[in-house]
Symmetry: C2
Subunit: 436 residues, 2 copies
């Protein structure tokens, strides 16, 4: 398998996440994509700090240009942020015909026109999935998946800091100042939070989404921006009473031949999916003329989600460098029967509705049958009482094994006190999501 050398410029939070992701999933990515990524050079001003990942010291340099120019580096990942130095790094890489992967929304929004023109002249590419909505592949969705659609509108919650603050104000009735301090303590907001809370970061991302949606560069001066500093608890509460939630929303649409690109705090109907997006999560609602509304949701920032986007771009760039195109990605292996779990060994919580004779001791017998099969009860509700008749009893269990449940249900339905066949449904708590 071909190996492609990667030069990482900027070894901060996301840079360390890229190294960790590559170390953890590099072999899997290579198997899926048919080309192997190899870290060749890492540049950062700070060579000492512990980032929680191991990098061969001989690979590290304080000289960004040395990493870009190193012949072992075939793709350059720019993660230093800011505009001036990042621009120099990217222009030098393009000059050398090396594709660039970047998460730098400020630079793309402000100088994308020049950079993409330079890339085209040098017959290479700039990849920027990580610039908007972190781990959510919204750039690919707009560029590829929805390519056949005229985009009617894009609505985005694109800044986790602002959404965290507004969610806290809404759910916990704290003031803006209180929520901001909390966000700073939790690491969700910078010491100087202006770029986030004044809407500038969201505006950069809105300009990028507008560019993809309508095929034009939107200069930042044409984007109307209002932040969330002025939002009072009273407004959040009034909005809620009116059936709305307040979100910092990026609005991109085309109407009557003109494009609108604006960012401002906005009342969104509470039943709208975007209204339920809480905390540091991002979401984008894209309305295409063929698809109708489609939505995309996930963590918009952070070390590993952003690294996921950078790595997907690296894989794209590497395929172009190595193969000139992408291989089909469909399984080439058949599932070994042993690797697909039989339903009997699957574990879940269960909802049971048992038609049970309302007579003393019967519920105890039912619980006994479940217990014999290693099934423990989390809750029981019997709403009606009709002594001597069958009544519905709703039981929620703790985690149990399907095979045990099947045998238990046979035993239950064979009980003289059970009327109709017991209804059994599984519960999925999706814990990773609820914790998030």
């Amino acid at each position: 398998m071909k190996e492609i050398g990667v030069g990482l410029v900027g070894f901060g939070t996301v840079g360390a996440g890229v190294v960790e992701g590559l170390q953890r999933n590099g072999a899997l990515l290579a198997e899926r994509q048919g080309v192997k990524l190899r870290l060749a050079k890492v540049a950062d001003l700070d060579l000492e700090r512990d980032r929680g990942v191991q990098v061969n010291p001989g690979m590290m340099t304080r000289d960004a240009m040395a990493a870009v120019e190193d012949p072992a580096v075939q793709i350059v990942v720019e993660l230093i942020g800011g505009v001036r130095a990042a621009r120099d790094v990217i222009l030098r890489a393009l000059e050398l015909g090396k594709p660039v992967v970047t998460a730098n929304k400020a630079l793309l929004a402000e100088q994308g026109a020049e950079l993409f023109q330079r890339a085209a002249e040098r017959l290479t590419h700039i990849h920027f999935e990580a610039s908007v909505a972190g781990g959510v592949p919204i750039i690919r969705a707009l560029r590829d998946g929805l390519a056949a659609n005229r985009i009617r509108s894009v609505y985005g919650i694109l800044n986790g800091t602002c959404n965290y603050i507004l969610t806290r104000m809404d759910r916990d009735h704290v003031t803006f100042e209180h929520a901001l301090k909390e966000a700073q303590a939790a690491g969700y907001a910078e010491a100087d939070p202006a770029l986030d809370i004044d809407g500038v970061d969201t505006a950069h991302k809105a300009a990028i989404l507008a560019g993809l949606s309508y095929g034009v560069f939107v200069p930042m001066a044409a984007v109307h921006v209002e932040g969330i500093r002025g939002i009072a608890k009273a407004d959040i509460e009034n909005a809620r009473a009116l059936g709305y939630r307040v979100k910092l929303l990026a609005v991109v649409k085309e109407a009557a031949g003109a494009i609108e690109v604006r960012v401002h705090p906005t009342l969104i109907p509470a039943e709208q999916m975007l209204a339920s997006v809480g905390g540091v999560f991002n979401a984008i609602l894209v309305d295409g003329d063929l698809t109708g509304p489609t939505a995309y949701y996930g963590r918009g920032a952070g070390r590993l989600p952003t690294a996921s986007a950078v790595l997907s771009d690296l894989a794209d760039a590497a395929r172009l460098v190595a193969l000139g195109k992408r291989p089909a990605m469909w399984p080439e292996r058949r599932a070994d029967a042993a690797r697909v779990r039989d339903i009997g060994s699957v574990e879940a919580r269960y909802y049971l509705r048992v038609s049970l004779l309302d007579r003393p001791g019967v519920l105890g017998r039912l619980a006994g049958v479940l217990g014999q099969h290693d099934i423990s009860i989390a809750s029981v509700v019997q709403k009606e009482a009709h002594a001597g008749k069958h009544v519905p009893v709703v039981i929620v269990t703790h985690v149990a094994r399907e095979a045990h449940m099947q045998v238990a249900l046979e035993a239950i339905d064979a009980m003289a006190e059970v009327g109709a066949r017991t209804v059994r449904l599984r519960i999925e708590d999706m814990e990773h999501e609820r914790k998030a």
Copy 2:
């Protein structure tokens, strides 16, 4: 620009949608992707029926193989459905080295192993974005966007018929039989609804998502499938009382080295995003080890959403045929200043919180100022009363123009009876979404 000839086999609902999408947005797609799609041949047993789109009669044939073999056809779109005839069409196209675009989940789930192997032998591709979740680019998200992630789990609401029925039962308290009849009357369910309501269609899609997530073919026999025929109103209501919603859920996960692929009615926590997916919409929650939870939402079926997916695949296939790779898709045009709408001409509904002196006639003066600026009031709420003091008055307006609002606000804040500066927020109703 290169032109690529397309052969369409199957001119039913989705086929007609593809033709309509191509006629409507073909030029836009060509501009975005750098290659032009040209309809070369259309095959269907019925040459007479009016599909609501115009096709040159000389292009039509009843002979599917003639369309596949026609030298003007460089990519074959298979939309006849079913397994046997579709399989023959696809194998013949692959034999000729022509890439195939298909929406046929049954065929892919049951015989994908053989078909993809044949495609690899013939150095061509099968594209299948339309096979799962219609217009939602979930195949691309799993294959490309999340390529660097180990997939921890995929939860999907993948069948619009079932979700429509369950949503009606939940929101309108009707029985399963009633909701099914309604779905049939509305065209959301077939006369013979078995494939949908018994979970088979969802299982086909689950097997495809499992294949992409874990790189193995999952035989249908290994997929545990339960449908929604047995669901009673009582269960939906019990679930709601317990804080859950009932959905037909596809569950794909890897745990302890084995894959789980199952489809069954499931209780989902009400606060979970998937729980709020109503009607014929589809949604997929993918948990990657780097991204954490991400979600994808949209119309999972229908003429134009499915056509959008087919056309995105056609563009991919055409780029491979014409260019051997994809061009960068980033705007090459600068936004003409006139094309970006100035915020002053943007229209929206507004929320205003005015600090107003509680004295007879003052509210009338306020309404008068708004009226002078073409702003009409939809509702006014004044909760507190403190005669002679300032109280918050919350006003929601009808659609108004920003420039008018700005002037009106200046006038309002200059009123002697107005205390603190008026708070102004915009309301986005996202009507396309609420109607859906």
